[in-house]
């Protein structure tokens, strides 16, 4: 196979979402946790980008930052978040609120906990539609029924009247997806949308997300710790480690030629037929309170050398393939 499929999608001129140099800190009793340290990435209209990394690497907090919902005591220290060229962080709180649900929407990890246990599914989807589209209740209800049908829930009239506890995990996640897409957002952020679901349901939900993305033409950020899930669903993958982006590339390119030693180890730790043992990455993620300068993966990296004590810059090593490493893995 040639490089043609990778080059098929030309780099778009105007990204839908552009995150640049995002820095986010948590002031805790133990000290300042630098949860995000200079995170930069873009999402093109209609594109599906996978945000991949281990637990605690900062992928969820990146999503929360884009939503403008950083939990206390988190604080954005620097950088910018642009949606359609508009600097969200410069917006007054009320205008950023209006962006949520109508231009950016979010799907959560545990759908049954993301639904209000004392409110019907219908009331929540109607609420989302009314807020995002500024329509009256009757119209919102029609739209809600239509959207529930679109996410594959049969008998939407009945679903409207149900509560979270009456739904299976898969149905609840479909309902959450309906709440997310009913506002017509052009960017959907799905934070581990299938981690709490049965394996058989996971595939269905991921297929539904892809299907909706194509039909509605919205972009999708798929946050996952599962590189396999990202590879199957995303156009492009962004790999995060300890609050930084270490590599980003089109999905196929990343799988064909991972350049960062961390990505390479992640790929090796994936279970594959014909491979006997998994190969976990030795060592642990560094403490984000006063992290040592230089590459944050160096302490776990088999390729690390003296030059890794300085912070590596992001460099383009292939078409739309970026890596922050002095000693990248060369394709063999």
């Amino acid at each position: 196979m040639s490089a043609a499929p990778v080059a098929a999608r030309p780099a778009p001129a105007a990204p839908l979402l552009a995150v640049r140099g995002l820095k986010l800190r948590f002031d805790t009793r133990r000290g300042v946790v630098r949860a995000l340290d200079g995170v930069s990435f873009e999402v093109a209209p209609g594109e599906c980008v996978g945000l991949v990394g281990e637990t605690g690497c900062g992928k969820s907090i990146t999503a929360r930052a884009v939503m403008g919902l950083v939990p206390a005591p988190g604080r954005i220290e620097g950088g910018e978040i642009r949606l359609d060229g508009r600097d969200l962080m410069a917006l007054p709180a009320e205008e950023w609120r209006a962006v949520r649900g109508s231009q950016v929407a979010m799907i959560f990890q545990e759908p049954k906990r993301a639904l209000d246990p004392t409110a019907t599914v219908g009331s929540q989807i109607v609420e989302a539609a009314m807020l995002a589209r500024r329509i009256d209740r009757a119209e919102a209800k029609r739209l809600a029924l239509d959207t529930l049908r679109q996410v594959g829930l049969a008998d939407p009239e009945r679903i409207m009247r149900t509560y979270a506890f009456e739904l299976s995990g898969g149905m609840a996640q479909r309902a959450m997806i309906a709440i997310a897409v009913v506002g017509g957002s052009r960017l959907i952020i799905a934070d581990e949308p299938t981690s709490s679901l049965d394996v058989s349901i996971q595939a269905q939900i991921l297929r539904l997300l892809q299907d909706l993305r194509r039909r509605l033409g919205s972009a999708l950020i798929l946050i996952t710790h599962d590189l396999g899930v990202a590879a199957e669903n995303c156009d492009r993958i962004v790999v995060m480690y300890a609050g930084q982006i270490v590599e980003q590339a089109p999905a196929r390119e990343l799988f064909r030629a991972p350049a960062h030693p961390y990505t390479e180890r992640l790929l090796r730790s994936l279970p594959r037929p014909g491979r006997d043992a998994l190969s976990p990455i030795p060592g642990t993620v560094p403490d984000l309170i006063d992290p040592a300068p230089g590459c944050r993966f160096a302490n776990r990296c088999e390729r690390a050398g003296p030059d890794c004590a300085a912070t590596p810059a992001m460099s383009e090593i292939g078409r739309r393939h970026f890596v922050a490493c002095y000693r990248p893995v060369r394709p063999t």
Binding site: L69, E94, R100, G101, L115, D116, T118, Q124
Partner: protein, 337 residues
């Protein structure tokens, strides 16, 4: 539905049992209190043993205790609470008349205590660790620990004696005429359109209501705050914000309902506290309600009055608790199924 009915029957049976046991306890305790109802009535001067025995026989107090109890209980079951030893009036109509006065006070205190408590609790939770939060929680702690009678006296000294804003006690001023329709004083004044009387009654209600509501409001505030803080970290709060609700909107539409489930239990339990508190509060404010009536009964060893009042109190508390339990299903859909 069948299960609900079954539960209801079991609850009613348990409630009847509670009241039956209580009736024995009250009956016994009343007779253990030193003092004699007849001496309390007639005085100790110039009364002969023969006369005393005669009156006792007349009132049936010479029979063995268990006979007295069974006779009383049998009559109560038929709705006859006996007559007051003090003034020979039938007890039940008096109890009901006084209860109406207390009920208005208790309802006012419940509304004041619950709404104030919920409001303070929610604001404290939302503005956590601010001066408002610290101040109201210190206030709540003092509210829970302050004796009711003492608060009542402080309020009288401050607002009646010093500032002269509110009357020191009583139901109405002595020159106010009340036309009785239902027996509920405030309601009657509204029905008959006596504006002056309404204002007068309300003025008399303010201090007792505040006294009665203070401790429950404090408890409700603390419970609400804890409950809201727990709920506010739930995913559905974030999900609400993520679909464009404002923080206030999420609190109003999704936090309140979930946070109020434990608060309803507290408010239900508080109704018992209102009734208990009304005994002291009505005595402090000379408020002619059930509490004061019972207090007077205790002072005079008026057995039928005290026994009747306590049975009535118990019945009310049992019914209120039942209503609270049923109200869960209105708030929490998980209980319904």
């Amino acid at each position: 539905m069948r299960r609900v009915l079954r539960t209801l029957w079991i609850r009613l049976f348990n409630s009847a049992l509670v009241i039956a046991v209580l009736s024995v306890v009250v009956f016994g305790f009343m007779r253990m209190i030193p003092g004699d109802p007849i001496l309390a009535l007639m005085g100790t001067e110039g009364i002969t043993d023969a006369k005393l025995a005669e009156v006792k026989k007349e009132l049936g107090l010479d029979r063995p205790l268990y006979v007295q109890y069974l006779s009383w209980a049998w009559h109560v079951l038929q709705g006859d609470f006996g007559r007051s030893i003090q003034n020979n009036e039938p007890v039940l109509p008096m109890l009901l008349e006084r209860l109406k006065v207390t009920a208005e006070l208790a309802v006012a205190a419940t509304i004041l205590g619950s709404s104030l408590g919920i409001l303070i609790g929610v604001v404290s939770a939302v503005r956590r660790n601010t001066i408002f939060d610290s101040a109201s929680m210190i206030g709540a702690l003092s509210g829970v620990s302050m004796p009711v009678f003492w608060l009542g006296i402080i309020l009288i000294v401050g607002f009646s004696v010093k500032l002269d804003i509110f009357p020191t006690g009583g139901l109405v001023s002595h020159n106010t005429r009340l036309v009785a329709v239902t027996g509920f004083p405030l309601l009657d004044s509204l029905i008959t359109g006596q504006r002056a009387a309404t204002v007068d009654i309300l003025k008399h209600m303010v201090l007792p209501t505040v006294t009665l509501a203070f401790a429950p409001a404090a408890l409700v505030a603390r419970t609400t705050r804890a409950s809201v803080l727990e709920v506010i970290n739930e995913d559905y709060v974030n999900a609400g914000l993520a679909r464009g609700l404002s923080f206030a909107g999420v609190v109003a539409r999704h936090v309140m309902r979930n946070a109020l489930i434990p608060v309803v239990t507290i408010i239900g339990l508080e109704i018992g506290v209102y009734l208990g508190g009304s005994i002291v509060t009505e005595s402090v404010f000379s408020y002619p309600g059930l509490g004061r009536y019972m207090m007077q009964g205790i002072m005079a060893n008026d057995y039928p009055v005290v026994q009747g009042a306590i049975i009535l109190y118990a019945a009310i508390i049992v019914v209120v608790n039942l209503v609270v339990d049923l109200s869960y299903s209105a708030i929490d859909p998980r209980v319904r199924s």
